[in-house]
């Protein structure tokens, strides 16, 4: 099995007062040693797809799939104990906002070391050494100071880099990044993404990059799944974004204001109800 991830016919459902709500509706894709983007607007099911993969959907949410495999492990049937081993060691996730995803009462360095010590027996000194190296790898200028800092003492960009360091220290083979830079300023965004991109490439990891920003994703991914209403409506090679044919993808591209030229009016997306009912496009390799 050469694919890192295989997902076939994934459904995520939530019971509501008015019946079952389908957040993800029969999505299929696989991840090779590549950078895969998942793009869509709020409510398209992109984050739920990422979370389902790590089995982070809590009850009463319901996850169903014909097949969901990470590195050959069957995620659907794996006992929780095994699943916990898989998370962090083989596959890890960078969340959107460092403010809510780091433990506020624990020093940053200790949090990074914790990830490492859960998965392997490491000498304390060596662990600290590794954490410092990792902080350096994410281009933090003063790793010693940051190691002993609390999350509130860091800026957003630094916090996000700390999270990336934490997620990469156990050398996972797959990284899921869920809107890793949406909470950051444009100039910091690029910096953080380039660091992430470099590390992912150097380590030969697979990356799933979840974002609402089509252009950003096309810069950092090889293949892009475009999601709408819980389904994949189109799959694009990143260089061929301009050749996208689905009206939703075109609409997303055209509704963005451009810096280099002025459009008098921005194109407004007219959502066609038929998009919701179309078959999901398969992203299997």
């Amino acid at each position: 099995m050469s694919n890192l991830v295989d997902v076939e016919n994934l459904w995520v459902r939530f019971p509501t007062r008015t019946g079952l709500f389908d957040a993800v509706r029969g999505v299929s894709f696989s991840l090779g040693k590549e950078r895969l983007g998942i793009v869509g607007e709020s409510g398209s099911g992109k984050s739920m797809t990422g979370r389902a993969l790590l089995r982070l959907i809590r009850k009463p949410g319901i996850v169903e799939a014909d097949r969901m495999q990470i590195l050959g492990h069957d995620v659907m049937s794996l006992p929780e104990k095994e699943m916990r081993k898989l998370r962090g060691r083989d596959i890890s996730m960078v969340m959107q906002d460092p403010k809510y995803s780091l433990n506020p009462v624990m020093r940053v360095g200790e949090q990074i070391v914790e990830t490492l010590s859960i998965h392997e027996k490491v000498d304390k000194k060596l662990a600290r050494q590794k954490a410092l190296e990792m902080l350096e790898a994410v281009v933090i200028r003063d790793p010693e100071r940051v190691y002993d800092a609390y999350p509130h003492e860091l800026s957003g960009g630094m916090g996000q880099r700390v999270m990336i360091a934490m997620m990469l220290i156990a050398n996972p083979k797959i990284l899921i990044a869920d809107e890793p830079t949406s909470a950051l300023d444009v100039s910091v965004q690029i910096q953080v993404l380039e660091i992430m991109d470099k590390l992912v490439r150097e380590r030969g990891m697979g990356l799933i990059f979840i974002s609402h920003d089509l252009r950003l994703v096309s810069n950092f991914c090889d293949r892009i799944l475009i999601m709408y209403g819980g389904r994949i409506v189109e799959i694009c090679e990143s260089g061929k974004l301009d050749q996208a044919t689905h009206p939703y993808t075109r609409g997303l591209l055209n509704s963005m204001p451009q810096l280099d030229h002025k459009n008098e009016r921005l194109e407004v997306l007219n959502r066609d109800p038929a998009w919701r009912d179309q078959e999901s496009v398969s992203g299997l390799l």
Partner: protein
Amino acid sequence: MKKALEILNLNVWFGEEPNRVDAVKSVSFAIKQGDSFGLVGESGSGKSTVLRAITGLVPNWSGDILVDQKQLGAKRDRAFYKTVQMVFQDPYASLHPRHTVDRVLSETLQLHGFGDIDTKIPKLLDDVGLSAAFRFRYPHQLSGGQRQRVAIARALAPEPEILLLDEPTSALDVSVQAEILNLLCDLRAEHNLTYVMVSHDLAVVGHMCDEVAVMQHGAVVEMMTVDKMRQQQADHPYSKHLLESSARYRA
């Protein structure tokens, strides 16, 4: 054309020595009536604080703020709020969760002494592209874009001349952002409004504004026209850096 808004040597600070933080440092600019002016910069650069100082939401400031060539004092009076209104960044936080759209709008109208509220509200909703059916809804029954439309309707209620827009679309999806930006453009033309818009997204500011001030560490480092910005012609190293990262981001 007369100046709608003029700011001279504005300073804003928080806290007292030795912990004093200067959030805005001698910022000056002027906007002609009917123009649209953009403030860009990173978080913490003081761009939103300038807007908050204009509306009187910060306690400590010095300098001169002139609206319609009239100097503002320490307190803002009702006439000021009839002239200047603000739209906030996050429509999820800026609408009272237990007030209906009707109550939000009628309260503003009452405060400014308008009669005939019953006919005014459907008109306001219509202006922002919402049907009258939205009138008795609560914020949680609205989508993000609809909420921001309500926030804009509230700002329009006193029939202001100047709108202060603090990142009005950064909490919204791109397709919804396009709708709101189009709406703001239409409203400016219809009501002859003057805009001051704060954003970290240069493309959004470029779409909406004629002139832009780039802020860093509380000071304006460069003023430029949008045409200059589109051609990537910045003089100050920081604005160059900002433009470059934006261009790379969009590439």
